[in-house]
């Protein structure tokens, strides 16, 4: 990925709030990131940290009400798609930004064949006739490694196993040659050996097609295996961002550091006792006026209770939102 290449997607200061009967839920707070051509950006965070809402917000998939994207800019192809009309958005979603979700059964329609669901975007967005669309649909199933692709076009989603359905979802998302693929926990529901197959497939597709990918997961192991760059989310905010090797070798935010220490490994040294992150993830509510991690943080400073830290550079292409400086072990100089 050439450094300094113009990003394909540039998200600035995204802010999404849900208006519920219990009050406002600030689910996404000033989230900014960009996606460079051909790169795979990993988004990691626990459930409820705002990963899905971020992605749904930027392509207008959240029902409003209750959701309200209150602020931000999402530049895609030189256009702010937060300002785009519905028709433009639908066209972008169907063709230029592809989506894969955790549970394929919620996005595949059980009453249509897989072939039909693959051909529909091709006909609608690429203007293909039936014959060409069928041919392309078969190629797509072959591309994602489904045996007997020609036959299987006639099958319904329930006739595929979990792993194969996820391949079908990827094929549909790739149908119109999108510039960006957003994959939201696509392997979370799969077993490890099937997950390993899908991860191999994605690496292979990147070599062949070269699209940019946003890959959401709660699994740091998956991130380590496929991401070029990583953003870590906590409590609706990005708390750290770095190239993948840098993040794992040199984590700066107390949350990232604690997370890396708490997960046991299959190889290497085995700790007799697991390190624990005390407490619970925050319940999101009003806009946070302090660091969302402070209640669980072992480095908490007085300032952490009064101000919400913004992201500051901590290394090349590396930033963290924290008042504590991992380098000096004391307060940060900002």
């Amino acid at each position: 990925m050439p450094d300094g290449a113009l990003p394909v997607l540039d998200v600035k200061d995204l802010k999404t709030v849900f208006r519920t009967r219990q009050g406002e839920v600030h689910a996404v707070n000033s989230v900014s990131f960009d996606l460079k051509p051909g790169e795979l950006l990993g988004v990691v965070g626990e459930s409820g940290s705002g990963k899905s809402v971020t992605m749904m917000s930027l392509i207008g998939l959240l029902p409003s009400p209750p959701a309200e994207v209150q602020n931000g800019q999402v530049l895609f192809g030189g256009q702010d798609i937060l300002k785009a009309d519905d028709q433009t958005l639908r066209a972008i979603r169907g063709a230029r930004i592809g989506f894969v979700f955790q549970d394929p059964m919620t996005s595949l329609n059980p009453v249509f064949t897989v072939g039909f669901q693959l051909m529909e975007p091709l006909r609608k967005h690429m203007g293909m006739n039936k014959r060409n669309a069928r041919k392309r649909a078969q190629e797509l199933l072959e591309l994602v490694g489904i045996p007997d692709a020609g036959q299987r076009l006639r099958d319904y989603p329930h006739q595929f196993s979990g792993g194969m359905r996820q391949r079908v979802m990827i094929a549909i998302a790739l149908a119109c040659d999108p510039q960006v693929l957003i994959a939201d926990e696509p392997t979370t529901a799969l077993d490890v050996t099937i997950q390993a197959q899908i991860l191999e497939l994605v690496k292979d597709l990147r070599r062949k097609l070269g699209m940019a990918i946003v890959w959401i997961t709660h699994d740091l192991g998956v991130i380590a295996g496929i991401a070029d760059r990583v953003i870590v989310m906590y409590g609706g905010q990005i708390v750290e961002h770095a190239p993948v090797r840098e993040l794992f070798a040199n984590p700066q935010h107390p949350y990232t550091r604690a997370l890396l220490e708490t997960i046991p490994k299959v190889h290497g040294e085995r700790d007799e006792r697991l390190r624990v992150i005390q407490g619970q993830p925050p319940m999101l509510g009003a806009e946070p006026a302090a660091c969302p991690f402070r209640a669980r943080c072992t480095h908490r400073l007085g300032r952490c209770d009064r101000e919400n830290p913004v992201r500051v550079p901590v290394g090349p292409d590396h930033d963290a939102a924290c008042f504590w400086d991992a380098g000096t072990g004391g307060a940060r100089d900002v």
Partner: protein, 340 residues
């Protein structure tokens, strides 16, 4: 065959355990086949240890755990707990055994009655199996809440007021109520966030030390099992394919399935990913109602050879304490015969 090391006594002994679920079809509900969820498994659990039971979804882990506790009428095999054969014990006799064997479930939400307070949930087994009343009962409930790290002030709250990790603590407190010896933990951390998992695992370890508990720890998370288990049994499609002490299993897996499973775990280390050789299995797991002829793993095994498609490999102790069911690890003479 599974001789306990000299200093350990066997608490749970499982031999050739089968649990088949009948499949009925058609208007007449004819019996057309069986889901062979557990199809002839044997293992021991030593007193005070944790045996990890790993494998992918649908391989029969939960069924195995439930069958061992006789939550089912088993299809075949024997289960002994402290030497006592419970395989065919009637429900009334079993009821008296229940206090010693308990279960902790994956989904704390679903296993706790939403209309009962925390004190009610933890007190229920006390009411069923003990004569504890009034302040003695309340004191025992408090004691259990203390043991699992739940604030006593929460005694009158309802499960929905708690987070996933806290609900799992409620489930554990309930399982502990009757001073059990043996607890089957069925994916107790699978529904919890990464940052909460360690809290629950450490609690389980502390309780084991404190009360001398023996665990069957069922999980699909191989790294967590490496942390918590002393020995590990690996299941595939209703069979245990390998049983070994933790260190040996992770350092040098013998069964091709164990090898593939371990190599599929994504390690949180980008450098390792770039260098590690991976075994990527092709295809999906066959249906337990129609397992392949021969070895159950033969349809996906990267090292499959002729006899694997004909004969089901028997489990063999290839090193002390290490059992592998694979033709690659057959007796030398048997391997010679097949090559001829």
């Amino acid at each position: 065959m599974f001789d306990a090391p000299a200093d350990r006594k066997t608490l749970v002994e499982v031999r050739d355990l089968k649990m088949h679920f009948p499949i009925y079809a058609g208007l007449l509900r004819r019996h057309v086949g069986d889901v062979k969820a557990v199809d002839g498994v044997s293992f021991d659990i030593f007193d005070g240890e944790t045996l990890g039971l790993v494998g992918e979804s649908g391989c029969g882990k939960s069924t195995c755990g439930r069958a061992v506790l006789r939550l089912y009428d088993i299809t075949a095999g024997t289960i002994r707990i402290e030497g006592e054969d419970i395989s065919t014990m009637g429900q009334e006799t079993l009821r008296k055994k229940r206090p010693t064997m308990q279960m902790v479930f994956q989904d704390p939400q679903a296993s706790l009655n939403p209309r009962m307070t925390l004190a009610g949930i933890i007190g229920e087994p006390l009411d069923e199996h003990t004569g504890l009343k009034g302040s003695a009962r309340r004191d025992r409930i408090y004691e259990l809440m203390d043991a699992v790290g739940l604030n006593r002030d929460f005694a009158n709250r309802y499960p929905h007021e708690f987070s996933g990790g806290q609900r799992q603590r409620i489930g554990i407190a309930r399982a502990l109520a009757l001073h059990p010896k043996f607890i089957v933990c069925d994916e107790p951390i699978a529904a919890l966030d990464v940052s909460i998992q360690a809290q629950v695992v450490n609690l389980l370890e502390d309780l084991q030390d404190k009360f001398g508990l023996t665990y069957l720890f069922i999980s699909h998370d191989l790294s967590m099992v490496r942390h918590i288990a002393d020995r590990v049994a690996v299941m595939y499609l209703g069979k245990v394919v390998e049983v070994a002490a933790r260190e040996g299993l992770y350092a040098d897996p013998k069964h091709p399935y164990t090898q593939a499973l371990l190599s599929a775990v994504p390690e949180p280390d980008p450098v390792l990913h770039d260098t590690a050789e991976r075994v990527i299995l092709t295809g999906d797991v066959p249906s337990p109602s129609n397992p392949p002829q021969g070895c159950n793993f033969c349809t996906r095994c990267p090292q499959v050879f002729d006899i694997c498609r004909l004969k089901d490999p028997q489990s063999r102790e290839i090193e002390p304490g290490r059992h592998v069911a694979c033709h690659l690890h057959n007796e030398p003479q048997a391997a010679g015969e097949t090559a001829a």
